[in-house]
């Protein structure tokens, strides 16, 4: 799952497209107006819905269209990574990087690199029935005592 900021990174993805560059097809892109709009809840929702990794791409520090949205994203990112590791989710499954509208090559490299990292980690497999069905497997049995 990739959250791309409208002003830089989505432009970078566009540039990669118009230059007909190849990159791993595993990413589902969602355009947001700013990385500062990417709430931690979005990231958790992506993992909960089956994403194996979440990539947030925004403008380089100092280049944010809204001045400081990407700084907020950076702070949330570091805090969220720490929380995710407490949930047993590898930190590498969440990545924040900066891609400007002209950096088609960096966009391609970042996607490929992220996909390779996730492939090496394997599926996230939040297969715990507590997540899928709302109750743990224990609840499926008749547990009258």
């Amino acid at each position: 799952m990739g959250f791309l900021c409208n002003w830089c990174s989505y432009g970078g993805a566009d540039a990669a497209g118009s230059q007909r560059k190849n990159y791993a097809p595993n990413v589902k892109v969602i355009r947001v107006m700013c990385t500062g709009r990417v709430e931690p809840e979005f990231v958790l929702k992506a993992f909960q819905s089956g994403a194996d990794g979440v990539l947030i791409l925004g403008c380089h520090p100092g280049d944010c269209h809204y001045k400081e949205g990407n700084y907020k994203a950076l702070r949330r990112y570091h805090l969220l990574k720490k929380v995710l590791s407490q949930f047993g989710i590898e930190e590498e499954r969440l990545r924040l990087d900066w891609v400007s509208a002209t950096e088609a090559d960096k966009f391609v490299d970042t996607i490929n690199d992220m996909v390779a990292t996730i492939k090496a980690l394997g599926p996230l497999a939040l297969s715990n029935p507590a997540l899928a069905k709302g109750v743990s497997a224990d609840f499926q049995e008749d547990t009258l005592v």
């Binding site: 909960q48 949330r76 969220l80 407490q86 047993g88 715990n128 743990s136 609840f139």
Partner: protein, 327 residues
């Protein structure tokens, strides 16, 4: 309204039950003080293990839907609790999740950061005060001379009440304050009830009514996160402005600010407002935005000063969160 199946002469039947909880919710009922007499006058208790001598078979003997309302407190962590919740659901017109543990999982829900094996190993094998040379762990069935003894199954994952049964209303809080309990009881008795699934408390953030709100920081101010015992807390200034984590911005109002008035920060027992799914993630978002650092090193330094962020952001709401438990 489906709740009152009764003749004009009989009072509505009420049940009160506890699952994985500390007993504080039961205490909250006693805290109604003289108001409890009004409740006792208006209803008939048919089941309340902590206070009155009823047996499970008394509940089983009731017709389905016979109980007007069951107040169930505590999270669900054993087979017995699940069974009782399901039994009361069947026999009741309304089920109210009473208190933070039934509503969100509560502090027992923090066990979702570990699992049954870790808990059993600690409690029955490795705790310094334990002497258990044979390594005996609780069994669901044990044969003794007199026959078979049984214990309920202990689940790996703690669940909220609504993850196990259908819940009509939620009374939030650890424990719910007397005024909200009375309001809920009055609403149920009069049949003047809001939409199903409503949390019976104001739907705004705690900061909204906090006396310290004028000192709440608008901009990035936090250079270091301190724990409450590490700092002499100012009795009028916003806790966040003092670098102390207070879950007020991500927590529902209505508690009467019992903690804030005692000069302690909010820990989030009322859960999030209706617009928020994941209280911990929402608080994380707000806290990160007021950290005063823009470079990676500075940010990491502030974040490293937070001991156990997941534990504190999900203090009461881990089982109700999006991820629910550790992977």
């Amino acid at each position: 309204m489906r709740i009152f199946r009764r003749t004009p002469l009989s009072k509505p039947k009420v049940a009160f039950y506890w699952c994985a909880s500390c007993g504080g919710c039961e205490e909250a009922v006693v805290d109604l003080a003289e108001d409890i007499l009004k409740v006792v006058a208006a209803v008939e208790f048919v089941f309340w293990p902590v206070a009155m001598d009823f047996k499970v078979k008394d509940v089983e003997a009731l017709q389905d839907g016979d109980i007007a309302v069951s107040f169930i407190n505590g999270a669900i962590r054993t087979g017995e609790q699940e069974h009782m919740a399901k039994l009361l659901r069947k026999k009741s017109g309304l089920v109210v999740a009473f208190g933070a543990c039934a509503h969100l999982g509560g502090t027992p829900g923090l066990a979702n950061f570990i699992n049954r094996k870790t808990i059993f190993d600690r409690v029955y094998l490795n705790a310094p005060s334990v002497y258990n040379p044979d390594g005996i762990l609780p069994q669901q069935k044990t044969m003794v001379e007199e026959g078979e003894l049984t214990l309920p199954e202990f689940y790996d994952t703690v669940c909220t009440l609504d993850q196990v049964i259908d819940v009509d209303y939620y009374l939030p809080g650890c424990a719910p304050p007397p005024d909200l309990i009375m309001k809920a009881v009055e609403a149920i008795l009069s049949g003047n009830l809001p939409e199903k699934g409503t949390v019976l408390a104001p739907d705004r953030a705690l900061c909204d009514s906090c006396k310290r709100r004028d000192t709440k920081p608008e901009k990035a101010v936090i250079k270091e996160i301190k724990r409450v015992h590490e700092v002499l807390l100012d009795p009028v200034k916003c806790f966040l402005d003092q670098g102390v984590i207070c879950l007020g911005p991500a927590t529902r109002d209505g508690c009467g600010e019992r903690c804030i008035n005692a000069n302690m920060p909010c820990r989030g027992c009322f859960g999030p407002t209706s617009r928020v799914v994941d209280q911990g993630a929402k608080f994380l978002s707000g806290l990160a935005s007021i950290i005063d650092a823009n470079d990676e090193q500075g940010i990491k330094k502030v974040i490293d000063s937070i001991a156990d962020p997941a534990g504190i952001f999900y203090y009461y709401a881990l089982p109700a969160s999006m991820l629910r438990r550790k992977r």
